[in-house]
Symmetry: C2
Subunit: 168 residues, 2 copies
Amino acid sequence: MPQKLLAFHRHNHTHCVSSALAEAQELCNERGARLTPLRRQVLELIWQSHIPLGAYALMDQLAELTTRRVAPPTVYRALDFLLEQGLVHRIHGLNAFIGCPTPGEHHQSEFLLCRDCGVAKEIDSEELSQAIRIVAEADGFLVENNSVEVTGLCPNCRPKDDAPHERA
Amino acid sequence: MPQKLLAFHRHNHTHCVSSALAEAQELCNERGARLTPLRRQVLELIWQSHIPLGAYALMDQLAELTTRRVAPPTVYRALDFLLEQGLVHRIHGLNAFIGCPTPGEHHQSEFLLCRDCGVAKEIDSEELSQAIRIVAEADGFLVENNSVEVTGLCPNCRPKDDAPHERA
DNA sequence: ACCCATGTGTTACTATATAGCCTCACTATA
DNA sequence: TATAGTGAGGCTATATAGTAACACATGGGT
Ligand SMILES: [Zn+2]
Ligand SMILES: [Zn+2]
Ligand SMILES: [Zn+2]
Ligand SMILES: [Zn+2]
């Protein structure tokens, strides 16, 4: 299983980062898009964890790294580029951004968000997208884009109440 | 069919408003919650159409109606109350609020959003919620709340390309 | 050399949301 | 009746998120 789909489990995250960056570079090359140093750096910062990162947090980290002041437009422009290229997704409910583990393929923005540890896991379920399409079409609605943000507790943070039998 | 589920179709919207307000009052009575004049007025303003309304737009309208200055906390507190009572939903992708046509029942926040006319229609599909639960459970994720915002074109705004046969 | 397109720096600003404090009205006791 | 508690809402200020507009730089084509 690809590391990048293991957000909720212990995994070699260094591999997530390096493969995300490599894939991004490759995609941009194919498309003639320019993954500039700034854009790459922003992407790398977003991939530092599986927890969505806000634009201003990103800005601060960037400022520390470059030891220069970084203004909002700088980071928002980089984010816009990454969003256009499908390399990151925006999590509206958190005003934050998260790296896409499967860029390149057109897909929707569908996430499980743990309210305790903050980790976001992208879900890519044909059944789910299908269910949405069916509901929409029943209303004569033409779907262009969907955003699913499911909040709850990830396997690490949910109570282990499977066997609460008070065994002495 | 209840008026309030006809967002995309011509309907007697006055009835949406009056029944929403009546239902809200009833629910609040049952629960011992206080639907104060301000809260009622905010709810009524939100129900003025099926287009989600931003907090600041709401504020301005409220200020005009009362001919007094209205500060953000006033409207946000009313909105918080209405959200808690499940009388309105927040549309994160638009930073806006919309009346709930079926308050009382516990349900998720799932919407079709027309990017052209702006109308939002709440969808209440057990299949969709089910699909989400299944996907989440496959990851060991405990769902607490889900937010689905499907963007596209409503039946009125989508191109009528069903029979584009260029008949003279 | 020049032009042009694209990316980034910079300032200023708009938009959205919250913190904290005060007063008022209502209610529950003493 | 006094009085303390509670919750709603007015108010100022502030925090957080996102954008507009202009200046400058680079790099490629002519
Ligand atoms: Zn990882
Ligand atoms: Zn993705
Ligand atoms: Zn209506
Ligand atoms: Zn609802």
